[in-house]
Symmetry: C2
């Protein structure tokens, strides 16, 4: 089920700027029963993204009501909230009066196996690199062709994610999750001020890992890490078992973050 | 009027990947009566873009039939053709079987004044810069937040366009048109292999200007040019009168291109 501007609907105007120009942003929010443990973080990022793109930000309580409504038929669900700059005339100039489009839809939670959380995932090393664009970096906006191209590089279901770098040889993230490495005993996550998305799960991990460095992470350093894991608001904390031919074992930082994730209120798929 | 996958319609599925990820591309095509003088160039670029993004390319004759149908109520029109990777499940992975979405809609031609073509336009110098992304450069894809941000920098109607640079200080284009400069008597247009759009009007100008250099154009060189003009498949050849405080007079290359444009079959709005 889906609500568009509060009304049950399945389609949007073909003149919506979200479609014409990718002029908007989104959140994908995991619900556990009727609770979304990271709800406030999602709202904070949405507000910040709306401010940066100058799109009117919806009321958080209204969004929560709508999210609860669309997820009714699911036990657990992923709710996607999309905000666009609304319908506009042809041309890039924003309308003088913006009536944003608000889309709230629910999807089934993807299946997550005990093995995944115990042993970790295998990753493809993507050739697609992310462009530096500080004006858009961090925002979960609708311009996602880079991620589409990166994800299209492999179809082997044994590879759960792809490692994506920027154009300077720094590891940035997975195609749809953030990246953490443990280097010389210290956790590191790539800065996302030139490219990449400032993940909500990443923010939660950063808050609990007091000593995590946020900086450029050269690919060689990433591949030489003692632990590697991904953070995703939908999939949680995913140990990385391999990137291409480089193998890892889930280590103590990864395990501690998995426990923290469970404490936040997410189910413990891990063994 | 609009046709979506050949049927009269005004809306698309809220699950269309064009909306979810900007996963698609478009053409805006000027019709003069029932003729689109640059039709074959538009089809060539659309085909090339579809190949690069691996989106199934529609049949050109079918598109022409649909364009003629939607533009009926207009004397002259701008027809926008949008192709997306169609409806997909949540997630960046392309569907295993892609059923592309095809949107063909007509818009009124924007008003163009004699003065504009005679005296030229004034341009804002944009602070927004374009990111280098060779995998997407040249394609008229749906990820247009950079252009939206650049166009949102000014609202003064006396400024008809904005000059946009890349992150290395090279002039690239206007927000919605390509750029030509005459430097030391030689026409130059910026390369669009790292960012920017390979305009259809740009291609037509390049074909007739046998000696035009396609290369990096440092902003200082652009500002010091003896002539500056824009090419747009909708607006044609626009002399540039000023970029910020730097002024220009329409020169012989600009005038020759305006004549060529008329010879291609576009009306002569210029005096």
């Amino acid at each position: 089920m889906m609500l568009i501007n509060g009304q049950p609907a399945e389609s949007v105007s073909a003149l919506d700027r979200g479609l014409s120009y990718g002029d908007g942003l989104f959140e994908t929010i995991r619900f556990v029963g009727s609770t979304a443990p990271l709800w406030h973080r999602h709202m904070k990022r949405l507000r910040s993204g709306c401010e940066r793109l100058r799109i009117p930000c919806p009321d958080a309580q209204q969004l929560l009501d709508e999210a609860q409504q669309v997820k009714k038929k699911f036990e657990d669900a992923v709710v996607r909230i999309t905000m666009t700059r609304g319908v506009g005339e042809r041309g890039y100039a924003p309308p003088s009066v913006v009536v944003a489009t608000r889309i709230v839809g629910a999807f089934a939670m993807p299946a997550l196996s005990v093995q995944t959380y115990r042993d970790g995932i295998r990753m493809h090393r993507c050739h697609t690199t992310l462009a530096d664009q500080p004006l858009l970096a961090g925002i979960k906006h609708l311009n996602r062709l880079e991620q589409v191209l990166a994800r299209a590089e492999w179809s082997d279901p044994a590879l759960a994610e792809g490692l994506v770098c920027d154009q300077h040889g720094h590891a940035i993230s997975a195609t749809a999750a953030n990246l953490f490495a443990v280097v010389d005993g210290v956790p590191v996550t790539p800065a996302v001020d030139r490219c990449g998305v400032a993940g909500v799960a990443r923010a939660a991990v950063l808050d609990v890992l007091g000593n995590c460095e946020v900086r450029d992470l050269p690919l060689s350093e990433c591949l030489g890490a003692s632990e590697l894991f991904l953070s995703s608001s939908v999939r949680g904390i995913l140990p990385v078992q391999a990137v291409g031919n480089t193998v890892y074992a889930p280590g103590p930082v990864t395990r501690a973050m998995q426990r923290h994730w469970r404490d936040l209120g997410f189910p413990t798929e891990q063994a």
